[in-house]
């Protein structure tokens, strides 16, 4: 019995185990998974930084709405990454509005999905809204770049101008 309670508290951390052990005589065996007696601020901190949450159902992991399947998304990500290897040297020889738009789109998507991956790895489990914030920032950024391409010199010319400084 003690070992079962030990294992059940494992995923909730050592602190919950200590609280459980202390108040054990007052509880019956079935309330192992219920909330502990005291709600100290340090326990709230431990819960916030909990390493393992869930379990998550496949629907939860998939997320609400996606433009592409995860595998298609992965394919497009790699296509753009490899595409840039050819695109960047090509930009040295071919400039113009089309190259502006293609270059902007490729580099922007690559950077956007890259940061999205970083956020998914490290931050989203602690700050769930950071993904949406990045998305918002990205849209604003992309709008700015498209505007730059249309109503200003365009990225290729801009890089040329910076290079000649």
């Amino acid at each position: 019995m003690a070992s079962v309670m030990l294992l059940k508290s494992c995923s909730r951390g050592s602190r919950s185990l200590l609280l459980q052990m202390r108040s054990q005589p007052q509880w019956d065996c079935t309330s192992v998974t219920s909330k502990p007696f005291t709600a100290s601020s340090s326990l709230a901190v431990i819960e916030y930084f909990r390493a393992r949450r869930g379990p998550f159902s496949p629907e939860e992991k998939r997320g609400k709405s996606h433009i592409m399947d995860a595998s298609t998304h992965w394919k497009v990500e790699r296509f753009i990454a490899i595409g840039m290897v050819g695109l960047m040297p090509a930009a040295l020889f071919v400039q113009g509005p089309i190259m502006d738009h293609v270059l902007t789109t490729f580099i922007f998507l690559h950077g956007f999905w890259g940061i999205d991956g970083v956020l998914k790895d490290y931050l989203i489990k602690f700050v769930p809204w950071i993904g949406k914030l990045w998305y918002l920032l990205a849209i604003v950024g992309f709008a700015g770049l498209v505007n730059f391409n249309f109503n200003d010199v365009g990225v290729c010319k801009a890089i040329q101008m910076i290079w000649s400084l």
Partner: protein, 287 residues
């Protein structure tokens, strides 16, 4: 050289057997005459200790001194010696002592391996550092909580699934497999689920609730490419989200640390390749 057997009786053996007998007699004479006392070769073991049943106990590292002349060569031999002779309360999992059960998986000198297969390092100044598998909840001392790992393994349905086979027909006919198809499973079926690889993966450290980890993914792949299994597309469809397989960034700690010499990193790469162009319509029913 004292020849114990009369030379006449030796001639009845072949020359090879004769030579062997002479060697054995010489060696036994030498070892019988060898000195009994040897200088004790003391090795320090720095072992992670934590007992949750002791109220207020904090994790700490405890040092034990072991005479390597009186101890087997593997770290598990050292741990058992410590438990038998020095500290009964040292807690760790172990079973087969030959690297096939996966119970004694732990972090030794910074590497996740099986204690029964990892030789005690013979660097005279250094100690042996023994810690539980990294980023796992610890039940006690060197025992990690493997429940999440096992739940993830269960979630990939690691058993043969066939379409259009009635329950009544199971076991009547053996499912044949060509030699080439069977060869595809080599390097995958030998996994002993010790969790050394998954617990060496930083992605698994940060997202062990949603990312399956190399061990489980390698087994998922093992069932995907088994020619006898009919649910390949559905198994691939299980991976269609941002976390289950795509948190792998080919860090390759898994392959580096596998104590059985397997290659989970390659298996995950093959899953990603399969995911690129599998028939999604066929698995639509799974969703």
């Amino acid at each position: 050289i004292k020849v114990k057997m009369a030379s006449k009786s030796l001639t009845k053996f072949s020359p090879a057997a004769r030579a062997l007998i002479l060697i054995a007699q010489t060696r036994t004479a030498q070892t019988a005459a060898a000195p009994v006392t040897q200088k004790p070769n003391i090795k320090k073991f720095d072992i992670y200790r934590w007992n949750p049943e002791k109220s207020g106990d904090k994790p700490k590292v405890q040092t034990y001194k072991v005479d390597l002349n009186e101890c087997g060569p593997m770290v598990l031999d050292g741990l058992i010696k410590i438990k038998n002779e020095m500290d009964q309360t040292l807690t760790f999992r172990r079973s087969c002592r030959e690297g096939i059960c996966g119970s004694c998986a732990m972090n030794i000198d910074g590497t996740n391996t099986l204690a029964c297969l990892y030789k005690i390092n013979d660097n005279p100044g250094k100690s042996v550092k023994v810690y539980p598998l990294p980023h796992m909840y610890v039940v006690k001392d060197l025992v990690p909580d493997m429940n999440n790992f096992y739940a993830q393994y269960k979630s990939i349905e690691p058993y043969l699934k066939k379409k259009d086979v009635q329950d009544s027909d199971v076991g009547k006919v053996s499912y044949l497999q060509s030699v080439e198809d069977r060869a595809k499973l080599d390097g995958l079926y030998e996994c002993i689920l010790c969790a050394c690889c998954s617990t060496s993966c930083p992605s698994y450290w940060w997202n062990s609730d949603k990312y399956l980890g190399p061990a489980v993914l390698m087994q998922a792949y093992r069932w995907m490419i088994d020619s006898r299994d009919d649910f390949t597309e559905e198994r691939l469809a299980m991976m269609e989200d941002g976390y289950t397989v795509y948190r792998c960034h080919t860090i390759m700690n898994c392959t580096k640390t596998c104590p059985k010499g397997l290659n989970p990193g390659r298996a995950i790469g093959e899953i990603k390749k399969l995911m690129m162009n599998y028939n999604k319509a066929a698995s639509a029913a799974h969703k």
